[in-house]
């Protein structure tokens, strides 16, 4: 991934890391007593306030890979990297908060596939759950491996040790405490990430000679790094691709239809809390570049272009800028970022496996106690499969990119079913199933033809939308009575 000599670890850093791991385990485990039913486990008994969910959404969103990748990109291309947090997120988050979340909450669903089942039929629910679960399990393995590599590089920890420590802690509180423990620990982890980012930025800017000097250095030496957009012929981030591909399709598909992100909004104590949580997350998202872009800019201003590989930007900052104790805090932020993403993925995937896959096969005959037992069992199994898959990651160069590529294969069709299903009651169940299956096939063909992932997402979305409308012309739609609070034109009062 990158070449970097392990830093000598100060005892204070080790104390901080151990204290964090012990503290978060106890804190998460405390939530065990709140779990009595499947609804407690999967939806925290619909008791979460907006600010907890908002912080949890951001914790889930920021992975440990983002620290290395985004700061490396910022070192290379500058503030344009922040587009992933701004135009590539915030409009979609507003849309999600005000248009999508109210329907999910009113429908009382546990998952995105369950909503698709209500809107279309159980076949759509089953297929969507299978596809989303499969990729979620792979992602757990990729996250574990990537973080283990970082900890080996920085701290000299053996890879198997890093994987076992992080997985054991996260597994302990996620399996015992369910979504409630996940959301509460995510909140603490997000606080840690922001707190660390502020300290790192402060120390870095002081080293440079103050904020004015920081800006002046960038303006004088790297003026291109202060532009939010890059030219249309830029090989990696051309501005039309960023706005159309990322802003119009991939970002809404992520923020309006990603199970791991949205599950906690289903657990909101009121519909307003669900909506407000995503708006609050959008407010926080504005400042996320401080966490993951700023270190790259600090490395650029202090080290110039002497860093040979962009992924070394953050390691350089940790080694040359941060004093003992603060670098430990940075490692804690890494682990927190990993855990807040993995715990959410595990819990949200177990919901889909239990309710949308096994539940559909068993024709919704699972008792509450069985759902709870299976939920804990599958959360454990997802973690075990993730651990087993993690080393396989080493055999694939840049597997994270491949996973992103694979995700783009189904985001377009599923988002088309979501948005047109919510906005237009004329869309039929048969159109849904045909559009989903053929949309996935079209995306796979485009992938086989080696299209750019932004174009795959966009084209498969457009294809699925067209098919939805064409097939709906010839097939029978659902009666209005079955679409209450599921489509926009059939909203009814629920007080």
């Amino acid at each position: 991934m990158w070449e970097f000599a392990p830093t000598s670890v100060h005892w204070l850093d080790i104390v901080l890391i151990i204290s964090y791991l012990a503290g978060i385990t106890i804190f998460g485990y405390y939530y065990k007593s709140h779990v009595k039913t499947a609804k407690d486990y999967f939806l925290a008994n619909r008791s979460l306030p907006w600010w907890v969910i908002g912080l949890s959404i951001i914790g889930t969103n920021i992975g440990s890979n983002d620290y290395i990748g985004a700061s490396g990109n910022a070192y290379s291309i500058g503030i344009a990297q922040a587009n992933f947090e701004w135009i590539g997120a915030i409009p979609a988050m507003i849309l999600s908060a005000l248009v999508f979340i109210p329907f999910f909450w009113r429908a009382g669903v546990y998952s995105i596939p369950e909503y698709l089942g209500l809107r279309y039929n159980n076949a759509v629910r089953f297929i969507a759950a299978c596809v989303m679960s499969m990729f979620a399990v792979v992602i757990v393995g990729v996250f574990l491996w990537a973080t283990a590599i970082m900890l080996q590089t920085y701290l000299g920890w053996p890879i198997w040790f890093s994987i076992l420590v992080t997985a054991t802690v996260v597994g302990f509180y996620t399996i015992s405490g369910g979504l409630g423990a996940v959301a509460i620990t995510d909140t603490v982890q997000t606080f840690i990430m922001f707190f660390t980012a502020i300290i790192v930025a402060y120390i870095g800017i002081q080293k440079i000679g103050g904020f004015d000097m920081f800006i002046k250095t960038l303006e004088n030496n790297y003026p291109d790094h202060l532009h939010a957009f890059l030219p249309a012929n830029h090989p990696t981030f051309p501005w039309p691709g960023v706005i159309l591909g990322l802003g119009i399709v991939l970002s809404p598909a992520y923020w309006c239809a990603n199970q791991a992100i949205l599950q906690r909004t289903f657990a909101a104590r009121t519909e307003w809390d669900g909506k407000a949580s995503m708006m609050f997350a959008a407010c926080l998202k504005t400042f996320v570049p401080f966490l993951i872009v700023m270190p790259g800019l600090l490395a650029l201003t202090l080290a110039g272009k002497s860093i040979t590989h962009q992924d070394q930007a953050l390691p350089w900052v940790i080694k040359h800028i941060l004093p003992a104790g603060i670098s430990g805090l940075m490692f804690v932020a890494f682990i927190a970022a990993l855990q807040s993403s993995i715990d959410s993925t595990m819990n949200s995937t177990s919901v889909m496996i239990v309710r949308d896959i096994i539940g559909v096969v068993k024709k919704n005959s699972l008792s509450d106690a069985t759902q709870l037992r299976l939920g804990k069992l599958f959360t454990f199994l997802i973690l075990i499969i993730g651990i087993a898959f993690a080393p396989i990651t080493a055999y694939f160069q840049g597997i994270y990119v491949y996973v992103q590529y694979a995700l783009s294969l189904f985001q377009g069709p599923i988002f088309a079913l979501m948005i047109f299903g919510i906005l237009d009651k004329r869309i039929t169940p048969h159109a849904g199933i045909f559009s989903l299956i053929s949309g996935l096939a079209v995306a796979a063909v485009l992938g086989w033809l080696q299209f750019n992932m932004l174009y795959i997402a966009f084209l498969s979305f457009v294809y699925s939308a067209i098919v939805l409308y064409i097939v709906s012309q010839f097939t029978k739609r659902k009666p209005d009575a079955e679409l209450k609070n599921v489509v926009y034109s059939n909203v009814v009062e629920i007080d």
Binding site: I94, L98, H227, P238, W239, P240, T270, W272, V491
Partner: protein
């Protein structure tokens, strides 16, 4: 098509981004107040999520204006 895109100055990108944010704000304010406030424990002014969207959009417009 590609040639036209390549020839456009970068401020066009800023304008498009700002238009997208402005459109989201319009969508937010087109939604009825009762729909927005649904489920809130009271009707205090700060619970109007359209105001949150407005603040958020203004911050984004300023960011894209500067950068």
């Amino acid at each position: 098509m590609a040639e036209i895109l390549y020839s456009l100055p970068l401020w066009n990108a800023k304008i498009v981004a700002m238009i997208i944010f402005a459109c989201m704000l319009v969508v937010a304010w087109l939604l009825p107040y009762d729909f927005i406030i649904k489920g809130a424990p009271d009707r205090k002014r700060w619970r109007d999520l359209r105001l949150w969207a407005t603040l958020l959009t203004i911050v984004q417009l300023v960011i894209y204006y500067i950068f």
